[in-house]
Amino acid sequence: MRVINILLVEDDNLDVIDVKRTLDKMAIVYNMKVAKNGEEAIRLLHDKRDSFTVKPDVIILDLNMPKMNGLELLQILRSSEDWKDIKIFILTTSEENEDKQAAKQYGISGYIVKPLKFNNTGSLDAFNLMIDLMNMQN
């Protein structure tokens, strides 16, 4: 078992707490950095001094953000060889189906529906994937 590195790109503080709370409940051991928008996420990814964020295991991405929105960031992440194998989960409200459809073409690993509920199969799949990742031996 190992600690998984998560980069959460989310501007809403409440949603950050929601994600963290759910990860705790799922007993996922994680190390998290939070970026408030796409630009900040890119900056964190490029910061070599930082031990984990050079290459996180998982990026959880809110599509609806100021400055650089989630889809733009997705485009950038998926066009770079360095970050190609990072698992990306989309954070979305259930109504925003169009965004979800648009994100699918970039090869995302799953989506998490806000507000986070355990009876949502999509969200559950995403967290289970993270648990698998945590249990994987290096």
Binding site: D12, L14, I17, D18, R21, T93, K114, P115
Partner: protein, 494 residues
């Protein structure tokens, strides 16, 4: 030119033409009168000239008689003829005063007559008077008589007289003939002119009548077309209106009116669209923070319940309840603003099948049964709006039903213009004063705390029907149940 001027001008022209015709006919009758007088005068002239000739014969025979018999009676006859002839001459000279030729002839006649009297008759009469006393005087008379006869003077005078009289009457006849010809040609000309004038005024009148009729009628037809288009909802119409007449002005006013109408309508549509969009955005964006509050309350309840006093637990429940109500209201606004103005494509809709589908969505309510008429029509129409109208009405009938056992009936009637669908319940009924109010958004008759209703259902029904220019009405009294009746277009599939 103004139509009123055209009409006025046309009538004046036709009146003038008829006045001219009348004037010409009047002139003709005057001419005929004149001719008649002329003929009458000419007849008198001829008659008097005949009398004159007869009198000359009387004078000649009187003179002969006297000369042969010496009877005074003959002289009297001679004298009276002579006197009458003097009068006739005076009369004739008055009658023929215009003609120089006739005057000359008449003077010649008068002179010859005088010459005959003075040179022939009077000497013989004198001689005969004197011949009574002695033989010598008798001889003198005989001698004179013979002398006068021998010269042939009397014959000469008589021939001249006859010739002059013939010329005189011939001239008179010639004048009459000429007059007759002139008159008949004048009558012919008058006939032609008055016929042409009448024909011309008839044609002009017809042409003007046709012009006015077609001009006015075509203008009016154009306006009727335009008004029809406007009433059908095409506001961006205009018509040709170039003339300077009243119709042109009216056309331009109509165009102006249509333009302003169209501007106002499109402004109204834009405002309406903005309002819908505004409602959508506001309700959508308000939902996010509301969900945040709900999340936090949920976390407190789930993770920290053991740290809370019972009062706090109770108040948190109150917050949850208000959040749900706010969310319902926002959802109401969202669905109201989503009722599209755009018409949906028509499809084949079996109303019975549609109502079965609606039945599947109804809330469970024991004791309440839904009765649907067996023979609802099959239509070619917009399915979703019709379904939503039925759904909201039937759901309301269920939701507000207060009796233990009740029924909701759905049936229809049909007239020449549309269907009427009935949703009838035997529930509590609605007082007359609320019949208008219930169709307004967020108006509910129930206490908010006692009943969770957003007051959007009937507003949506009204919006759907209003957008399609259809109507809904309500028959209801408290205690007698409610019947909602709405119209729907007749697009039946046979």
């Amino acid at each position: 030119m103004k139509i009123s001027y055209v009409i006025l001008f046309s009538f004046l022209m036709i009146l003038l033409l008829f006045a001219a015709t009348t004037y010409i006919n009047f002139k003709q009758s005057e001419k005929i009168n004149e001719n008649h007088e002329l003929l009458a005068r000419s007849s008198i002239i001829l008659k008097q000239s005949n009398r004159f000739q007869r009198n000359i014969l009387n004078m000649v025979s009187g003179l002969r008689g006297y000369l042969l018999t010496n009877e005074v009676f003959f002289i009297q006859s001679y004298d009276s003829a002579m006197l009458e002839n003097d009068e006739i001459l005076d009369e004739l000279s008055v009658l023929i005063k215009d003609s120089v030729q006739q005057k000359n002839l008449l003077e010649g006649i008068s002179e010859l007559n005088k010459y005959w009297i003075n040179e022939f008759a009077l000497p013989l009469i004198e001689a005969r008077k004197n011949a009574t006393a002695s033989d010598s005087s008798m001889n003198a008379f005989n001698k004179l008589y013979r002398a006068k006869l021998v010269t042939g003077m009397e014959k000469e005078i008589n021939r001249s007289l006859q010739k002059k009289f013939k010329e005189f009457s011939n001239h008179e006849y010639a004048v009459r003939e000429q007059q007759k010809l002139a008159l008949s040609s004048f009558i012919q000309r008058t006939k032609n002119i008055s016929f042409s004038l009448t024909l011309f005024s008839f044609i002009a009148g017809m042409a003007i009548a046709i012009f006015i009729a077609t001009h006015i009628s075509s203008g009016i037809v154009k306006m009727v077309h335009m008004a029809d288009s406007i009433s059908k909802g095409e506001y961006t119409v205009s018509m040709e209106a170039e003339g300077k007449d009243e119709l042109g002005k009216l056309g331009r006013s109509l165009n102006n009116m249509a333009r302003i109408l169209s501007e106002n309508i499109s402004l109204l549509q834009r405002k309406n669209d903005e309002l819908n969009q505004f409602a959508y955005i506001v309700s959508h964006d308000l939902k996010a923070p509301l969900r945040g509050i709900d999340n936090v309350v949920t976390w407190i309840q789930e993770d920290h319940l053991h740290e809370l006093s019972p009062k706090v637990v109770e108040y948190l429940e109150l917050i949850k309840g208000r959040i749900i109500r706010a969310e319902n209201l926002l959802n109401g606004i969202l669905s109201y603003s989503r009722v599209g103005r755009e018409l949906q494509p028509n499809e084949v809709v079996d109303v019975n099948e549609l109502l079965e589908e609606v039945q599947g969505y109804l809330p469970e309510k024991p004791g309440i049964t839904l009765h649907i008429e067996k023979n609802m029509p099959k239509l070619f129409t917009e399915k979703l709006p019709l379904m939503q109208v039925f759904m909201n009405l039937i759901v309301n009938a269920y939701k507000y039903h207060t009796k233990a056992n009740g029924s909701v009936q759905v049936y229809h009637t049909k007239n020449d213009h549309y269907y009427e669908f009935y949703v009838e319940d035997d529930g509590p009924g609605i007082s007359k004063e609320y019949h208008k109010k219930i169709f307004m958004i967020f108006q509910t008759l129930e206490n908010r705390d006692s009943f969770e209703s957003t007051g959007v259902g009937l507003a949506i029904v009204k919006k759907i029907l209003d957008d399609r220019k259809l109507t809904i009405r309500l028959n209801s009294e408290p205690g007698t149940g409610s019947t909602f009746i709405f119209t729907w277009p007749l697009n039946e599939i046979v």
